[in-house]
Amino acid sequence: MLLCIFQIDLLKTQTNNPSSMKRLLPGMILALASLLAVYSCASSDMPEQNVQPTLSPITEIDQPDPDPRVGLAGGLFDYEEAIWNLNLLSATPPPEEFLGSWGTDLAFKDNYIIQGNYNGFIVWDMSNPENPEVVVDFLCPASQSDVSVYENLLFVSGEGLGGRLDCGTEGVRETVSSERLRGIRIFDISDIENPEYISNVQTCRGSHTHSVLKDPKDDENVYVYISGSAPVRPNEELPGCSSAFPDEDPNSALFRIEVIKVPLANPEEAAIANSPRIFEGLTAPPTHGPAPEELAAIERAREEGRFVATYEGSPRVVNNRLIQVFLERIVEARGGEGEPTQADSTTLRENLDTYYGQFLEERLAARGRGEDVGPNQCHDITLYPEVGLAGGACEGYGLLLDITDPVNPTRIDAVADSNFSYWHSATFNNDGTTVLFTDEWGGGTQPKCRETDPYEWGANAIFSISDDGNMEFQSYFKLPAPQTSAENCVAHNGSMIPIPDRDIMVQSWYQGGINLFDFTDPKNPVEIAFHDRGPINPERVETGGSWSIYWYNGYLVNSEIARGLDIFELTPSEFLTQNEIDAANTVVLEYKNAQGQPKYEWPTTYALARAYTDQLERNRELNMRTIQMVRNGLNEAENSNGSGKSRVLNEVSASLSNSASSSSNSDKVMKLARIIRDLSSAS
């Protein structure tokens, strides 16, 4: 028993310390061995009466202090780095032809990584993650060259003025040119090592990013939503392009997104199918659901007896001038005259939401000029077809869209946030009950993570989604380690990691590096792992760092703008057990796109059962005696076969079901009991 305690303390020290670097694999294996030894130690026949939980709730675990990300020496390929709770398997520079040209977003298909680049795209074979190999370096300049795949098709975004239809590197100098490509390029990747450029779709604003949507009800087409943030191209270059306001020209390219329909049998016939104006009529208040200080302001206003209306789910203090107008209307409506009475005031208080809502609608109708129709484009639209939702990050708004009809997306809700400069991208949790928006303040080329930059600016904002589709603000989360003014840094792209029952995301912060955080409790996000390098040029800010990082089949793949491609794997820590990692690694994707969110589903495995058991311990949701019983039972079952195995599993399952009522999370205990029962039939 003493030994066991020593072992645990050792692990604690190890995971608390940001292990200073690299090549720690042998150490990790030992740690892993030790961890397993803890289990076997615990599972031996020792007295059990005093077993204490060894996993702590994640909010109670110390973070590294001092933060090792502060003060790292810089350099492009010769730098200092800090890593915590991750293992860097490889860091591979780009092929020579792509050196000095920005690496951008990633897509995945089978064992391949497709990495966009301002010079074209690169295909890496990641069969050996410790040594990924370049199999294609396709020269075809365009910005940003964000990439997506669907079956045998690869889509690449082009927005900049220098992109050419013929993939030439010489750019386009003329304002109006028939050589220019701004829109989507389509490649056939049936043979991924020999991509073939088969078609393109030109759009008025070009494609900054795009999202690929496969409608579960439509097997013949795939849809691409185009987002563009650059100015509209001239009508002479692409007929029909207009930057007039929609009330002057209903075909204006402003205030809309483009939906491209791609027939899978004839992808060269891809064309714009619809240009829905999903922004029209937006009058959402310029605040998120109340942040603590705003809530306090509203509370003060209430105490002072001021009028507080609720509009689109969020409280707003109505200004006194408007209250006078409303009161006059009430006086007029009852045929009275003169000063409003106390009764009028009471009437207003009782019906304030109605009066206020009416006023906003009148104002909207009176506005007329299209300038006021809300945001005019989206930066990113994240599609989550399994839950029928999309998250649009559209200028000053975060939108929730219904995409059950892919050609006709409609808006369900919109939020704005006084701390958000520019809504950039959206990520849902796996259940679709929480959505996280990022604010790409400064566009990604500015240093916005300095000590002097506020925590709420250039951060993530996390919202819960109610059953009726309303988004409610919960918290901000920003990279906690201050960066230098030589490092461009702001919230950027990332993805969910399939840790069952936990909302864990990995995210890019440009030269702020990458980090993992847990936002299962959307009010209290907690950082649980990170990697960061010093600036590429310590003298001055040069654009570099992590453009995007995504989980794909057990690995975290990072597109480094200047330095190439990094591949990480998760390592166990107090924040994340080996069992949880093993359970995540049972999820297998055939492909993955940056703006398409897959729904993770976990096969019934011992790893899943053990991960849930660990979580019950961590969250103090089940007594340790039962937890030990489950662990011992799972070990025993895994080492037996046939009827012996089934007997053990059924016994554990039944016993666990009986304990459910004593648990503070009986649903989860019952879920675990079912999984354990099903393990006997799983291979």
Binding site: A37, L161, P286, N319, R321, G396, T445
Partner: protein, 269 residues
């Protein structure tokens, strides 16, 4: 089940080994080149040396290309950057009044965001010009008065050492060791306030300041958007990646802020 070791002796050995490895790794530096301790020190040293050479070669190619890519600009880009520095500087003058003139909390938040964003962008545009051997406007702000000195490019063309760090007061504390011209007049740019309007704003307090600030800043932002449109309408302009990114960013962010300010204006008491 490779690691099912129940023997206590082995467990103890494992613990000690793990501790030892841990201590070792704790002592190693964060140098990227740190390799696993190996008995064959010479071959390791050789490998490190080879890697360092490869890295040095790649770095050279990288920075050469970054340098080359900076030459893909034209006069329209230069005019845009030069003009926008003055344009942004006026936004700083306006925004810095907010705390002293009794602006509301939301206007103060907006103003400090504008200061943060546009001061960084000014530094970015100054670097952009200096990198390309162009005259660089150096802005001096004194209350509501602004003077702009033009820092002339180095004859030697060595501009790599003249970094403007992007702290908040870069426009004031630059060491002027170059010939300079004076340039005062930016009033022909769209959205620029007249000196009289600036004085009115400086004299306004409280709600009146909020109203005037938002009204003027909306016009000011619209002017910046027009300048971006003019840039994109010029042949060959914004082919430079940094220019395209900056101009698109200004376009997107200021359009967003215009919308926000209109709503704020409507909600003033």
């Amino acid at each position: 089940m490779f690691f099912t070791i129940t023997n206590r002796f082995f467990l103890a050995l494992f613990s000690i080994a793990a501790l030892f490895i841990f201590l070792l790794s704790g002592c190693s530096t964060t140098q990227q080149t740190s390799e696993q301790t190996s008995q064959d020190q010479t071959s390791q040293a050789r490998a490190i040396e080879t890697q360092r050479q490869n890295h040095a070669e790649m770095e050279e190619i990288y920075w050469d290309r970054i340098e080359q890519s900076r030459m893909n600009f034209n006069q329209a880009d230069v005019d845009f950057m030069t003009g926008m520095i003055g344009h942004h500087s006026q936004a700083l003058i306006m925004s810095r009044m907010a705390p002293e003139n009794g602006a509301s909390r939301s206007v103060q938040v907006l103003a400090s965001r504008i200061i943060n964003a546009q001061a960084d962008e000014i530094a970015f545009m100054q670097r952009w010009l200096r990198d390309r051997g162009q005259p660089v406007p150096i802005v001096h702000i004194d209350g509501i008065n602004m003077t702009i000195e033009m820092e002339q490019p180095d004859a030697a063309g060595d501009h790599s050492n003249h970094d403007m760090d992007s702290d908040m007061n870069h426009e004031q504390n630059h060491d002027m060791d170059h010939d300079s011209d004076m340039m005062h007049d930016h009033s022909d740019m769209p959205g620029m306030l007249t000196q009289q309007q600036l004085e009115n704003l400086a004299a306004a307090r409280g709600k009146e300041f909020n109203r005037l600030f938002l009204t003027y800043m909306i016009e000011h932002h619209k002017g910046a958007v027009i300048m971006v449109e003019e840039l994109f309408a010029a042949d060959g302009a914004a082919s430079d990646t940094a220019s395209f990114e900056l101009a698109s960013g200004i376009n997107a962010e200021q359009v967003t802020e215009i919308e926000r300010m209109k709503l704020m204006l409507e909600n003033i008491d």
